[in-house]
Symmetry: C2
Subunit: 163 residues, 2 copies
């Protein structure tokens, strides 16, 4: 299985009175995310499902991937919210029994996505992966009960190399 960890685009700054979960993409964030989505389409990247954090900035990022026909399906996953746990998500993933050739996009937040990638690839998180807003990490998960420390990294890119 291939998973693509995609960080949401540039969003409104944190501000007193605006709950974190409703911060939305700025116009610049939308434009850049659209450019990334268009380039992914041209590169032939496709997803069977886009899973997204329920927070507005991630949801909007996932909708842009959908608009650009990278996936027919968007599903919200509370595991991808900033307080989500990769272990809970892996339990959920196992229960789905997706076929091995499935390609999933996971749209969410930092530091979570970088931590998840490092835990999947090296079994622990050392904050060594730089994942920019609208950036992507691509991992291959082996067919195994637990992919922790067993995944391979085939892609990590900031958006500037996708424009």
């Amino acid at each position: 299985m291939e998973i693509y960890l995609i960080r949401h685009g540039i969003a409104q700054e944190r501000e007193i009175g605006i709950p974190d979960e409703v911060r939305s993409l700025t116009n610049k964030g939308k434009d850049k995310t659209r450019q990334v989505a268009g380039r992914l389409y041209d590169l032939g990247v496709r997803f069977d499902v886009v899973l997204t954090s329920p927070l507005v900035r991630s949801r909007q990022t996932a909708e842009i991937l959908h608009e650009y026909k990278l996936s027919r399906e968007i599903t919200e996953s509370a595991h991808l919210a900033p307080n989500g746990s990769i272990y809970d998500w892996l339990d959920w993933l196992k229960a789905q029994q997706y076929p091995q050739q499935t390609q999933l996009a996971l749209v969410g937040h930092q530091p979570n996505l970088g931590q998840w990638a490092e835990i999947l690839v090296w079994g622990e998180d050392r904050a060594r992966l730089i994942l920019k807003k609208a950036g992507i990490i691509g991992l291959t998960l082996p067919e195994t009960d637990s992919p922790i420390g067993q995944a391979q990294l085939f892609w990590l890119t900031p958006p500037k190399f996708l424009l």
Copy 2:
């Protein structure tokens, strides 16, 4: 300092009677490497120096990077040959006293380059990074006596995402 580990392009197969060090890029390997170099140029990637393994297939790859004006300088480094040691290379690097903003390309072979990247980022090699021929790994080395286990990964791409 940023270092870009670049694997040589597609080369002639191993064959009895052809020493490994003279195997050269195939026409397809040259074409693909040229496409990658052109895209790197358009993306604004530049190197102060291209260091290359002395083996013909790496040397040719480095020359293509030079033809596409990614760097004005190519230097052979025996440390980048298949039996080279990252520790010896780091000693060499320290002696150069390059300024912190230097951008170096290292053209060489697998499994070496993937191993070097993992040793720089996580302190050990677990063969978890997939580096295709003409693929690239981008690392930021901190200003420190030994960057082992201290580097950050900002890019890893197969050539298919650079065409």
